[in-house]
Assembly symmetry: C2
Homo-oligomer: 242 residues x 2
């Protein structure tokens, strides 16, 4: 039975980390809200699901994944589940948990990237918090991006099985998520990232290598891949770059 995947139909957002894992796995899945006749009805389908009162494990927010009777929310929890089922995580317990730990740290980076354009509230428009966004983005660019990417570079350098992947000797969902977060940062902060990527050569190489994997390349070239835009988590506002 195909997985049912639920996420906003017009942005990559957090859902993209799940989409990439499903695509790399070659899994059979239906992107529910994108399969509706238009974006509006896709969002309605999503909201209607969240408001059902007959679900014992209601997700707090999209993305969530339905696999038969199992319903899972929270990006990192979905990836933990998919990792086991599609050989996108090691079987060894300590390594499996290490992949998850890396994923959770990438999730923190994604949250901070979001808050650069919404430092005061997700309920206000960006236009209503621009000066604050500039201050937050400065700190993010100068302190946080180097700290997070430097940490990922260090992990690659220290992997006893080589810097071709974050953990062990084969691809994991954390590598796919590394690709996606770098894609997002390059989209949102192109000037800063051009300089930063020179400092983290292993990370830059892994980012490139993931883009060349056959299934990922096919996905990126398909119309299933939504383009980055200014409704998503990673937004290109030139005034926030530097």
């Amino acid at each position: 039975m195909a997985y049912e995947f639920y996420y906003w139909p017009s942005i990559q957002g957090r859902g993209e980390f799940v989409r990439l894992a499903l695509e790399e796995a070659g899994a059979d899945y239906i992107d529910i809200a994108r399969n509706s006749v238009d974006v509006g009805s896709g969002e309605e389908a999503l909201m209607a699901f969240l408001e059902r009162d007959d679900i014992s494990h209601p997700p707090f927010a999209p993305p969530f994944l339905k696999d038969g009777n199992v319903l899972i929310g929270q990006t990192a929890a979905i990836l933990l589940y998919l990792g086991d089922r599609h050989e996108l995580a090691p079987r060894d317990e300590a390594k499996r948990l290490w992949v998850h730990q890396i994923q959770l740290t990438i999730a923190d980076l994604v949250g901070e990237a979001h808050d650069t354009h919404h430092p005061l509230s997700g309920d206000l428009y960006y236009e209503d918090q621009k000066p604050e966004a500039q201050r937050r983005a400065k700190s993010f660019r100068e302190e946080r991006i180097p700290k997070f990417l430097g940490w990922l570079e260090r992990i690659l350098a220290r992997n006893p099985e080589g810097a071709g992947q974050l953990v062990g000797s084969v691809l994991t969902y954390a590598d796919l998520s590394l690709f996606q977060v770098v894609e997002g940062l390059v989209y949102a902060f192109p000037r800063r990232m051009r300089r930063t990527l020179r400092e983290v050569p292993r990370l830059a190489a892994l980012h490139q290598a993931i883009a060349q994997r056959p299934r990922i390349r096919a996905y990126l070239n398909s119309d299933r891949r939504i383009a980055f835009n200014e409704q998503g988590i990673f937004r290109h506002y030139p005034e926030l770059d530097g």
Copy 2:
């Protein structure tokens, strides 16, 4: 062999979610930075560990837990590990993942609570971002607290095995984390929470029940429990309450 637990020695912070699980489990653990001769040397021990270059799984930040050769960072990942070892999570896979999903959502709430006093940057003092903090706190109080606590209340109401715990019929680490996040919110936003807790009776009852568990009560009354203060995640700034 005792667990070695690493976290800032003078705040509850994210580490407290781990401390509560260790205490409820009756686990043998050493709170490394608190066992140093003074707070300053405890922090130094922590930083020195993070800067070691011989660790293949370096944590990004505290808290982290060392169990023999296994080193785990990220609060939710540590709890996933401890949950399995100390019967603080169900064995059934779907329920085990559901507990983890709840924990990750509580972690999001904790992150947002932190950002009420640091909306622009963790590198600036609160005093340098007070007007912004007031705007962010308003949105947090009025939109986010009710949304998160309402979701937890709904989970309790829908648990087929009763509202005495979030998942299944026995205590999990998610229940302990619910206790802690409510404690923190009551400390930081007492006026708001007095009103809000009336709207979520099951959650309020579970919060009370956890405080009465023998090991938790003993812990809360011990000097191992650090008092809330204005260096932690949950800070009481009256101007942010309302």
